[in-house]
Amino acid sequence: MEKVIMGNHAVSYGVQLARVQVIAAYPITPQTQVVEMLSEFCADGLLDAKFIKVESEHSVMAAVVGASIAGARAFTATSSHGLALMHEVLHWASGGRLPIVMANVNRALGPGWNVWTEQTDSLAQRDTGWIQFYCETNQEVLDMVIQAYKIAETVLLPVMLVLDAFVLSHTEEPVDIPDQATVDRFLPPYQPKFCLQPGNPCSFYGLVAPEHWMELRYKMQRAMEQAVEVTQQVGAAFGQVFGRPYDVVEKYRMEDAEIVLVTSGSIVGTSREVVDELRAQGQRVGLLKMRMFRPFPFAAVREALAGVKKVAVIDRNISYGHGGIFASELKAALYGMPNPPTVFPFIIGLGGRDVTPQSIHKIVQYTQQYDKPAEEIIWMEVKR
């Protein structure tokens, strides 16, 4: 069934189809409609889930950790400061190997207050042990919720799926909503491997001495590595059932490309348009969409960019004192490759400043003009 819905509601429908059992949430602009719709689903009996209306995002994540360790499929959604407030508990979700799924609507962190899109909130949580996916369209958002549970419950790590504030969260697009029976076949009920089970006196998350600690962390990293392949398998299986296959990255018109734009989130859609225009003019420009950011899909990125001369990374985020986060991670991934591409690290669109096709054209022009970047960070459309 096709509906015209905003990105936030695409999340809610995905959660309903995934038959989530426990939801805890706290409202924050621009995520609020996700949980408003979910509370209506619960109240109307359209989703058989317990909705815990907690008083803060710290408690949100603690409550979903509690529900997940008790064996339930658990969900939450947040944004920006809410995600930052959860930080401590994010580690307990991943370290506890809990297959929680969370939608994060990218929003800038203050001060001053800014409710518009920027990826710094989610990227600042990159070392918490959460798998991260960045979505381009509302359809991808819905599809990703369903896939996220399958991935999380396979590798036993939590998944954060990320969508841009307003550009996706509040923008209505046609979305195909799959039927419940098909989703049920694709995503069977969660069967926890370990959980708090009355009658089975096990202790969870107690003191771990150095003699055991490293092994637990080693296993987490192994699970992260495994998540790349699992995501590819789940994405391919999803394509077979629903007609929309997914991979960890997406190569768009990259055949013979001399310049490849690398970006994520809704900027991908804008970049597609520009690539199409430039290709129509005969210019050899392609696009690499980064869907998965954690684990970083090293092999897929290296394979995609092998032989490319120049790569323009478009970051809507910043690690202060370093630069755009996708750019720095990409550079690290390319290190050691024979004849690696030259990376042009662009920062643009912070705090929701519009990124237009003209902006992308300027990025391509800069990349064509120079042999290598003239600065460590190429700031676009900033008043200096």
């Binding site: 426990v22 889930a49 008083e55 997940s68 339930a72 708090l196 009355p198 202790s203 107690g206």
Partner: protein
């Protein structure tokens, strides 16, 4: 006189509490009252150590260690998760210290009990951050020494009245207890178990290393706290019905309780008088509330 203390032990020997610690005793009695169909949540505190390191456990029910500020929130999630998985009648018991309850965890606790989540929250109150080495908390009493309230500047503020705060949420059940009165503690936990909604138990928990007291005197100190009316044993139902559950046989001067603890060794006679006056006033207020709730007041108690 016979005592109704169940024989079943769900707490094992080999836990790693200090000698004389009140906290393992409180949990041991609580588990006797609750039985096997219980899940215990341990908020960061001394009990994070007491329960034993991975891969050991000191209790024979499922146990979850959790972050300092999450006693109320994790319990809400665990209860919801257990219900979703078909365990509708399992009791969720959160165990937290005074730091996790009075201070860093009060927001999540207040929110959880305001939602009237179905769980028992037991605070074992040793009146300071003992696990990190005796720093003051808002549960530390006036005049006490801690490592952050040195003898030259002992604590200048009164102890936070956590029972009043919990009762103000109008939750079904709030009560105090000590390990010197196990039958009273067990009766309260059993009562709490049979009530749906939020239940709060405040257990005074002597800490020999932090109170600078003799390990062998922890039960005595618990008893003196009750007999002096410094820590009365009572319960509050729905925030309004106050019932005193143990009446002191004769009201012991608070000085007897204070003098057994090095943390009060610096107090001058006027300080002790000040504490006694406060204890007397609070006790009178409590008795008045019990009376207003319809409780008959014994002649020795008023």
């Amino acid at each position: 006189m016979s005592y109704d203390v169940p024989e079943q032990e769900l707490m094992t020997p080999g836990h790693v509490a200090c000698p004389g610690c009140g906290a393992p005793m409180a949990v041991r009695y609580a588990l006797k009252a609750l039985g096997e169909n219980t899940v215990v949540i341990i908020v960061a505190s001394c009990w994070s150590i007491i329960a034993g390191p991975f891969p050991y456990t000191a209790v024979q029910v499922p146990l979850l260690h959790t972050l300092f500020a999450t006693g109320g929130s994790v319990a809400s999630g665990v209860k919801a998760g257990l219900e979703a998985c078909g365990y509708k009648d399992t009791t969720v018991l959160t165990v937290a210290g005074d730091g996790g309850t009075f201070d860093i965890g009060i927001q999540a606790l207040s929110a959880a009990v305001e939602r009237n989540e179905d769980f028992i929250y037991m605070c074992y109150d040793n009146e300071a951050y003992m696990n990190t080495g005796i720093q003051r908390s808002s549960a530390t009493p006036w005049g006490a020494w801690t490592t952050t309230t040195p003898v030259k500047h002992p604590k200048e503020q009164p102890k936070k009245d956590m029972v009043a705060i919990m009762a103000a949420h109008r939750i079904p059940y709030t009560a105090t207890a000590t390990v010197a009165y196990p039958e009273d503690l067990i009766r309260k936990v059993k009562k709490a178990k049979d009530i749906r909604g939020s239940k709060f138990l405040h257990v005074l928990s002597p800490c020999p290393s932090g109170w600078k007291s003799e390990p062998a005197q922890s039960v005595l100190l618990s008893r003196l706290a009750v007999q002096s009316c410094l820590f009365p044993l009572y319960e509050v139902e729905h925030g309004e019905k106050y019932t005193i559950t143990v009446w002191p046989r004769e009201k012991v001067p608070v000085e007897r309780y204070l003098r057994l603890q090095g943390r009060f060794a610096h107090l001058k006679p006027e300080d002790i008088r000040y504490i006694q006056e406060n204890v007397d006033r609070e006790w009178e207020r409590l008795v008045a509330k019990a009376k207003a709730s319809g409780q008959e007041i014994p002649s020795s108690g008023g």
